[in-house]
């Protein structure tokens, strides 16, 4: 049997391949989107120009893009940190929401009784703790019983969604605003527990960064911190060994289960922090309609596009943030905002498929391979 093509694993993917594949998936997704736009009789150029202009065309638009990117950096980190260790935590969505529940709960409980800086720290920490706890519900059975975490984390997302809706729409819990008589909504938290906006700290920035708050800086710092922990500390070295090969990690004296558990909780904490930052930042309350945007799932796209690198998560999250930010603006030109969601999905589909090209090379059978392939390297 002669084959037209031979697929073989790559050794080191050249950096141009690593860059080209995500870029190509974005381009391919835009082309696919263009096809659907054209079929439905919309002007492709007008739509894409509008999106670009909304996301990056003005200071206001750009600052909103960063606002959208902030939670995505954190949910992207949640997925990246977990997936690299082969922890299949797809519960970022639920962990974010429970983070928001706990953060707003702490803020409401404190009222105006705690000084400003301490209040903010407490509230966003509560978010991280909430996310870690929610992840722990799946992590503990995974480590002690071997329960598949893919399904448990997935299910916990929907429990969290319904729980949050119950707290605001289904009951008269402390989270519900007692003053909202018309339509139920979350109870606003004290101003002392709010993250300051850049414009409040440095008045001159107000006209550039508008409502962007310190949450963005926190997210970026967390991303860099995680990078340092994973790539520059002994713990992170053990983590990378365990993620690559559990057998080698055990042999080298790494406590694999413990590392796995810690990674799982860290992942949950990052997602929960996103919820806490949204509550303490732009939202100022636990608002289900503004939280249920699929940010946890989008974080998985971010992580996949960033190829699980914590620092690369930042620019990718900004790109996806731009997409989310530009969606609603399309309605003004008569195009549904869901165009942005469709593009997100398409980017992810192409990025996932593209991973194959990063891992493997395809060549014609008559071409001589330039380096030893994996199978040969292992047995020769």
């Amino acid at each position: 049997m002669t084959r037209r093509f031979i697929v073989e694993p790559r050794g080191v993917a050249d950096s141009w391949v690593k860059l080209a594949v995500p870029v190509a998936s974005v381009v391919a997704a835009l082309v696919l989107g263009a096809i659907f736009l054209a079929i439905t009789g919309n002007s492709v150029i007008e739509v894409y120009a509008k999106m670009l202009k909304t996301a990056f065309g003005s200071w206001r638009g750009f600052s909103e893009t960063l606002v959208s990117a902030t939670p995505l950096i954190l949910t992207g980190l949640a997925a990246a940190v977990a997936f690299k260790m082969l922890v299949w935590n797809i519960g970022g969505e639920g962990q974010l929401l429970i983070g928001a529940v706990l953060a707003s709960g702490v803020a409401i409980m404190m009222g105006d009784n705690v000084p400003a800086v301490a209040a903010v720290v407490l509230v966003i920490s509560a978010g991280a703790v909430g996310g870690a706890l929610w992840a722990g519900i799946a992590a503990a059975p995974r480590v002690y019983l071997g329960t598949n975490e893919i399904i448990t984390t997935l299910m916990l997302n929907f429990i969290a969604i319904n729980l949050m809706n119950y707290l605001v729409f289904g009951s008269f819990s402390p989270w519900r605003d007692p003053d909202a008589t018309q339509f139920p909504q979350g109870r606003p938290i004290s101003d002392r527990a709010r993250l300051p906006e850049f414009g409040e700290l440095i008045p001159g920035l107000k006209s550039f960064l508008h409502r962007l708050d310190l949450g963005f800086v926190i997210a970026v710092v967390v991303a860099i911190l995680i990078w340092v922990v994973l790539f520059r500390t002994p713990w992170g070295f053990g983590y990378r060994v365990a993620g690559d090969s559990a057998g080698a990690a055990r042999y080298a004296g790494v406590k694999v289960s413990r590392t796995f558990f810690a990674t799982f909780l860290m992942s949950g904490a990052a997602a929960g922090l996103a919820g806490g930052i949204m509550v303490a930042g732009v939202l100022g309350k636990m608002d289900p309609r503004s939280l249920e945007l699929g940010l946890g799932f989008t974080g998985i796209i971010v992580a996949a596009l960033a190829r699980l690198n914590p620092v690369v998560v930042i620019p990718v999250a900004i790109l996806l943030g731009a997409l989310i930010n530009s969606g609603p603006a399309l309605q003004s030109i008569g195009v549904p905002s869901s165009t942005a969601v469709m593009l997100q999905g398409a980017i992810l589909i192409f990025a996932v498929a593209g991973e194959f090209l990063i891992r493997n090379r395809i060549r014609r059978p008559d071409a001589v391979p330039t380096e030893v392939s994996e199978a040969e390297g292992a047995t020769a």
Partner: protein, 314 residues
């Protein structure tokens, strides 16, 4: 027509459960072949919009059904290619499909010359029989009061169950999900079996979506299926990968969805948000109690689920 509120509740429960039955049976087939497809929600949505579009433009219910099957299978083909041929991460690929399907269905509902969103379906599936048998107290509405897609779902469940457990291709299907190398050495084409079942699974999810837009709530709104796709995934585990159990579990949750209206009439108020958690809480409990580690396999969890298979990398 109904004798009592209880019977009405059960009839509604069956209707509400039917889309989930189709989707869950489809997912059972895919997972039995060892492919986890988290794109169910997305496949249901594109099936729902395709079916509705067909009925809206051509006014043919059966064309709508056909189109939903095709579109569901086409969506599943993306996942099949990614996970079987390219052997990339099934979790991420499935989620990608869901996100894409969610965006695409809403987009189609609003982007065209004629907006589908907010429109009722010009035709819908109605109960097959009226009067006569359907008027028999108790049994009448429960057994004879449904539309044809409900009866087809019963047929599907019976046929699938027989297929999986009592036929030779069903045996091959289970072997592929359990132990691909052994199946391969027994002369079975693992990739082919996986492709077929993922595609059929997608078609069924598409039909499940169309049932919502053409029978349950014959109209188009943005994301009309709620969390039905995710419930289907939860049910597959609760039903331990068995079609009949999935059918009854789907009706149970169909009932739970309707229950609070009924309970309110009885003076009991259980918030709908808490009832909506039920399938997911039960699925987790089922996993903790029954499906952890070794026990999962004995229960029916396909051992090779979500693991790519490559002939060369044995």
């Amino acid at each position: 027509m109904n004798e009592s509120a209880e019977i009405g509740l059960l009839v509604l429960a069956i209707a509400a459960g039917t889309p989930v039955v189709y989707a869950a049976v489809g997912e059972i087939l895919a997972e039995r072949a060892g492919v986890l497809n988290l794109g169910v929600q997305g496949m249901m949505l594109v099936g729902a919009v395709a079916g509705f579009w067909a009925v809206f433009t051509v006014e043919s219910l059966w064309l709508g059904v056909l189109l939903s099957l095709i579109v569901g299978a086409a969506a599943a083909a993306i996942h099949a290619f990614n996970s079987i041929t390219l052997r990339v991460n099934q979790i991420v690929s499935g989620l990608a499909l869901t996100i894409f399907g969610t965006g695409l269905s809403t987009f189609i509902g609003r982007a065209g010359e004629t907006q589908l969103a907010g429109e009722p379906a010009p035709k819908s599936f109605e109960p097959l029989l009226t009067g006569g048998l359907a008027d028999i107290p108790l049994i009448g509405p429960l057994v004879f009061g449904h539309d044809i897609l409900v009866y087809l779902s019963w047929l599907l469940v019976a046929a699938t169950s027989y297929y999986i457990f009592r036929t030779k291709p069903g045996l091959a299907l289970r072997a592929v999900g359990e132990d691909p190398p052994s199946a391969e050495s027994a002369g079975i084409d693992v990739a082919k079996v996986r492709y077929i079942h993922v595609l059929v699974g997608g078609a069924l999810a598409g039909l499940g979506g169309a049932y919502i837009s053409l029978a349950l709530v014959p109209s188009w709104t943005d994301e009309p299926i709620g969390q039905a796709g995710w419930i289907a995934i939860a049910l597959v585990i609760l039903a331990s990968w068995r079609p009949w159990r999935a059918l009854f579990a789907a009706y149970l949750f169909g009932a739970a969805g309707q229950l609070n209206f009924y309970l309110q009439t009885q003076g009991v108020d259980i918030p709908s948000n808490l009832l909506a958690m039920l399938p997911f809480v039960l699925a987790i409990l089922a996993m903790l109690v029954l499906a952890s580690g070794e026990r999962a396999r004995k229960l029916g969890a396909p051992a090779a689920l979500a693991i790519p298979y490559s002939r060369e990398q044995r």
